[in-house]
């Protein structure tokens, strides 16, 4: 397969997944806001931190409010990871390979784009975005479904799957990281860079701590909900603690949005492309992803919590990034 074609399919799929996850981020914050009037600037700022693009945000918007953060993440066409930018890039990529992907995939993505464009107008109130976020999530799921139902299991399919899974693993880790910081009662849980903020503000944020000082179940439930994980979680776990939620989102073998499941699926696609058997590697991206997968395969949540969840996720994100970079230089840019 031509590198250009593989590149376009990978990114089309990755950008759709990105848009869907941004909608999940917004959705969980809007829900927390509705449940607790005290959901304030700090909580909205945490959402910006999830993206890793805080600097850009502060330069353009200054204060983090429901209005500014949702505008930034949904319809800001200058921000490259907003829902609008992601979906329009996904569409441009798909357009360039219309003869390779199925017609249904193109139609689904085209309609997705038109829906976002129609909603994107100035002055949309944050409260009005709940329905929009639901539609973006649904469109993302439809696109994945149409891809699975209509695209042959060749290279095109596997590059699409790689893009989706690497993006999903990254975003699931980010949402877990930031919410963990906000929801955990103890100030010293290892979020090094945010420690001063956490110490001075954690007690002022009722949403992060229930009255008796225990875990905020509403907050964790909302987090699980934003990852479409609540029902599946409940079937396995009957308590809600930071460790069990983290275990589910990081290490669950069967839940399709857990990081382990994403990495496994990505690894399978990568090996389907190269033909190398699982358990071995022929290129750097296979080596990096294989190492990450076996770490996750044999990880124990107790060890992770002891080490510090933030630090663990930080390293995990670094490994995902290295694998993505290696993949791009192996297949697309040489």
């Amino acid at each position: 397969m031509l590198s250009r074609v593989a590149d376009a399919i990978y990114w089309a799929s990755r950008y759709v997944e990105r848009a869907e996850n941004v909608a999940r981020f917004i959705d969980v914050s809007l829900n927390l806001m509705l449940e607790s009037s005290a959901h304030g600037e700090r909580d909205w700022l945490s959402l910006v931190q999830t993206t890793g693009d805080q600097e850009f945000f502060e330069k353009k918007y200054g204060k983090a409010t429901a209005q500014s953060v949702t505008q930034f993440l949904t319809f800001d066409d200058e921000y490259s990871s907003s829902i609008l930018s992601s979906v329009s890039r996904a569409r441009e990529n798909a357009r360039s390979v219309r003869d390779i992907i199925s017609r249904e995939m193109w139609q689904e993505l085209n309609e997705f784009y038109l829906m976002v464009l129609q909603t994107a107008r100035p002055g949309v109130q944050p409260e009005d975005l709940i329905d929009f976020c639901a539609r973006v999530k649904r469109a993302g799921i439809y696109f994945e479904g149409v891809t699975n139902a209509t695209l042959s299991r060749g290279e095109a399919f596997h590059f699409a799957n790689l893009g989706r899974m690497l993006e999903r693993a990254d975003k699931t880790s980010r949402i877990l990281d930031v919410k963990y910081f906000l929801l955990s009662p103890a100030p010293s849980h290892g979020v090094m860079q945010l420690q001063s903020q956490s110490q001075s503000q954690s007690s002022q944020s009722p949403s992060s701590q229930s009255q008796n000082g225990n875990t905020d179940e509403v907050g964790w439930t909302t987090l699980l909900n934003s990852a479409s994980a609540l029902q599946m979680y409940r079937q396995i776990w009957h308590v809600t603690t930071p460790a069990t939620v983290s275990a589910f989102l990081l290490l669950d073998r069967d839940f399709p949005r857990s990081i382990l499941a994403c990495v496994r699926s990505a690894q399978e696609s990568l090996h389907a492309i190269s033909g190398a058997p699982l358990g071995s590697f022929e290129n750097e991206s296979e080596r990096l992803l294989g190492r990450l997968r076996s770490e996750l395969d044999y990880a124990k949540i107790e060890e992770i919590m002891e080490q510090g969840l933030h630090q663990y996720i930080d390293e995990l994100q670094g490994q995902l990034n290295s694998a993505s970079t290696a993949l791009q230089s192996q297949f697309f840019e040489f």
């Binding site: 397969m1 031509l2 590198s3 250009r4 360039s96 219309r98 040489f334």
Partner: protein, 476 residues
């Protein structure tokens, strides 16, 4: 309704299906009876069904400044008898053989110029003459691998060549798609007529291209090179690549490395042996042709000169489809093959020649004026349909740049019955057969019949409101 009451108006025009009202030409009666035998309203229903089929197949083209649109299609086919076709086929083979010899000579020994048959000045001033090709010997000595010459019929039914397209003629995808649709539209009539198939074109094209690969390559890799998805013929580029089962590449997919042309794939660089390029000479390689081109593949021409990749058509072939060179084609055939042209040319006035120019300027209202490097129906004046202001404008342009224009008498192009609203009326057509030059010269039976859908219009180009019809060449 159907054909009853249809007036072919033979006399001022040649009708391809009827010699007189209700009297079909030999070979056409099965079609006419078949259509007349359809229940009321059925014909229009089938026309609508054919249009829906083309729409859902996404068979579209892009117009400059406008979006994608469907190429209009009329389900009443044009029929060519076996005997007529036999002559056309011979005529086209003769023409392409001679034009190939001409191109080789122009970039080689230049005998035809030395012998005073074609003026040196005229050749050098062709917009598509490429001095970079001087001395080039392309693989197997073939320059024009894929040609589409436009044929027309005058009011007496005589065929003429109107122009030759030796650069990147398009339209063959419509021939194949139209046939798919029409077989389903009139299955019984089609079956009863013994129509010669066209579906093997992609295979023949692939053979032609593979024939050009260097001898040492046992299983040559062929690609189709497109300028990209915004090109008006992108659909056809993708279609042909898909039909031949080869990669469709864009210039950025290609790179010259280690002295070979290679493409970037997920399995690393892969060598390419033959490029069917649908990119004009100017844009294939900025190092050899237009340096300001951002499109090309730097160094590709050098690889071609070393014989390590074949390009089809060969760079430089455009010199033979300049509309001023066209005027000499009958002499070119005589010069190289010592034969008379089987299909004649349309009389042509060169504005560079004083007598001709005087005549053209005095008769603009009767003539068709064309730009010598034009294509696609752009930059032409159809005298009888022109306004006084347009004629003044063209007179100025001709005086300023006589080399840029030729003129021809306005032909009463032949007509084929065509569905117009809820009626059948005659509409003017031309014919573009496709000729492949590989191991030998082959002509795909039929070709693209383009039809001017506007009443009275003589311009059949898709960019100017033209549509197409299926072309049925009868086996016997």
């Amino acid at each position: 309704m159907k054909f009853h009451g249809y007036d072919p108006q033979n006399g001022p025009f040649f009708d391809e299906i009827f010699e007189a009202p209700d009297s079909p030409r030999p070979g056409c009666s099965r079609l006419v009876n078949g259509i007349n035998g359809l229940p009321d309203g059925e014909l229009f229903g089938r026309q609508a069904a054919a249009e829906r089929a083309l729409l859902s197949m996404g068979i579209t083209f892009t117009l400059k400044g406008e979006g994608e649109r469907i190429f209009p299609f009329d389900i009443i086919p044009r029929i060519i008898s076996a005997k007529e076709w036999e002559r056309l086929e011979r005529g086209l083979k003769q023409r392409i053989e001679a034009l190939n010899l001409f191109i080789a000579d122009v970039y080689g020994d230049k005998k035809i110029i030395k012998d005073g048959v074609v003026p040196a000045e005229l050749v050098k001033t062709c917009a598509d003459y490429r001095p970079q090709c001087d001395g080039v010997k392309p693989p197997r000595g073939i320059w024009c691998h894929i040609t589409g010459s436009d044929l027309v019929r005058d009011k007496n039914g005589e065929f003429y060549v109107l122009e030759d397209n030796l650069r990147c003629p398009s339209g063959v995808s419509y021939v194949l798609e139209n046939r798919q649709v029409l077989k389903r539209t009139f299955p019984k009539i089609f079956e009863s007529l013994r129509v010669r198939p066209v579906d093997d074109y992609p295979l023949r094209l692939l053979e032609t291209l593979r024939h050009l690969a260097p001898d040492a390559v046992s299983d040559p890799r062929v690609v189709v090179l497109t300028p990209g998805r915004y090109n008006s013929a992108y659909y056809e580029h993708a279609f042909l690549a898909q039909q031949m089962g080869v990669e469709l590449v864009e210039p950025l997919d290609l790179v010259v490395r280690d002295g070979f042309l290679q493409m970037r794939t997920t399995a690393g660089l892969q060598r390419i042996d033959v490029v069917y390029r649908r990119v004009s000479d100017d844009f294939i390689d900025p190092l050899a042709f237009r340096p300001d081109s951002l499109l090309g593949v730097p160094g590709m021409y050098e690889v071609y000169l070393k014989g390590r990749v074949a390009l089809a058509n060969a760079p430089g072939t455009g010199v033979a489809d300049d509309k001023a060179i066209y005027r000499y084609v009958e002499r070119i055939i005589k010069y190289y093959l010592d034969e008379d042209a089987i299909i004649p040319n349309v009389p042509t006035y060169l504005c560079t020649q004083q007598d001709d120019r005087g005549y053209v300027l005095g008769h603009l209202a009767e003539l068709v004026v064309k730009a010598t490097d034009g294509a696609g129906g752009y930059g032409m004046l159809v005298g009888p349909h022109s306004t006084a202001a347009e004629r003044v404008d063209f007179a100025e342009r001709i005086k300023k740049n006589p080399r840029g224009y030729i003129a021809q008498p306005t032909l009463s192009l032949s007509r084929v019955p065509t569905i117009v609203g809820d009626k059948i009326e005659g509409r003017h057509v031309d014919l573009r057969p496709y000729v492949l030059y590989g191991k030998d010269i082959q002509v795909s039976p039929g070709g693209l019949t383009r039809v001017a859908l506007k009443k009275g219009s003589l311009v059949v180009n898709s960019s100017q409101g033209g549509g197409s019809k299926d072309t049925w060449v009868l086996a016997s």
